[in-house]
Assembly symmetry: C2
């Protein structure tokens, strides 16, 4: 089984290198990326939405040109283990999800996915072997239409830059008369 | 000038490969990562916050073990061009920002950073050369304390998984009786 251009084990090495550990979710995510890509019209440009910030975005960043910093990858947190490849002009897309209903034969994946066991009682090797044997059989696929707000160029790309009168740093002036951090919305105490 | 383990031009190649284009912001971000890392105690583990989703996160993902999927990288959007490396147990951190007040001698960087010119009138080569010549001289550094909410283990890592009664997909049961998507908060029409 290949994932993207990689042999299964080579992809696992890539995951370790980029993500810092071999998270089962990224292996599932890699298979999901391949399923989604195979359903897209040949040569079509796409954006990606991940419905969970957990692991999935790293599969997308490893296997596609979409990254969080170039904004072709977006995270809309619903906590479901799903990703969508879509045409950003029309919103038509393919959504792929790990289907809990198809895990009857895969106890290790099930224990990991539904958190049936504490992490330290889970067997990573067993999970990885089950993912390889299960192939594409445990994922659901559906056609979706993505909401308008994820299609158009984000407002801030067109917005002007000002210097915040409080901190003197450059910020998007459409966000208010002071930058969000000086209005108490920053990450610092 | 090196950025992380790379020669300046080699880093630019890395940026092109990961991000899909040579965005000046990632080059600045790479220098900011180096400045922050040099201020940290030797061997300390750190998490990273980016205050902008624009480009900066990709510099962090290219140069550190922190990715959006392993959650060691967080984005708290204030729209300021700043990143913070911090100890996730104490919240003590180093914040590095591109300082608009120090751009007097660097017209190409200034035109890009403050959007003084439309993108198509900006000269990428000139911006990259100015970043190289300016070195570390155009960034501010400050000590910060990160808010409590970014220190502790996120609630969802401890939360249970349930099957949503509407879509039948697995989701975090602490989010409600139905998954967020079935309550209208998903990305689809």
């Amino acid at each position: 089984m290949k994932i993207g251009p990689y042999e299964y084990d080579a992809f696992i090495d890539k995951v370790r290198e980029f993500h810092g550990s071999v998270a089962p979710g990224i292996v599932a995510g890699g298979i999901m990326v391949d399923i989604a890509r195979d359903r897209l019209p040949e040569g079509e440009f796409f954006d990606v939405i991940c419905e969970s910030q957990h692991c999935l975005p790293d599969a997308v960043q490893l296997l596609t040109p979409c990254t969080i910093g170039n904004r072709w990858l977006k995270i809309v947190e619903t906590s479901r283990y799903a990703l969508t490849f879509y045409n950003k002009y029309t919103g038509s897309g393919v959504r792929v999800f790990l289907d809990a209903g198809r895990l009857g034969d895969w106890p290790a994946i099930r224990a990991w996915f539904l958190k049936e066991k504490p992490k330290k009682e889970q067997d990573l090797q067993e999970i990885l072997e089950e993912f390889q044997r299960a192939g594409r059989g445990i994922y659901g696929v559906e056609q979706v239409k993505v909401k308008e707000e994820f299609l158009t160029v984000p407002q801030h790309r067109r917005s002007a830059i000002a210097l915040c009168p409080s901190c003197n740093e450059a910020y998007r002036s459409d966000l208010g008369d002071e930058c969000p951090a000086c209005r108490g919305l920053g990450p610092y105490r």
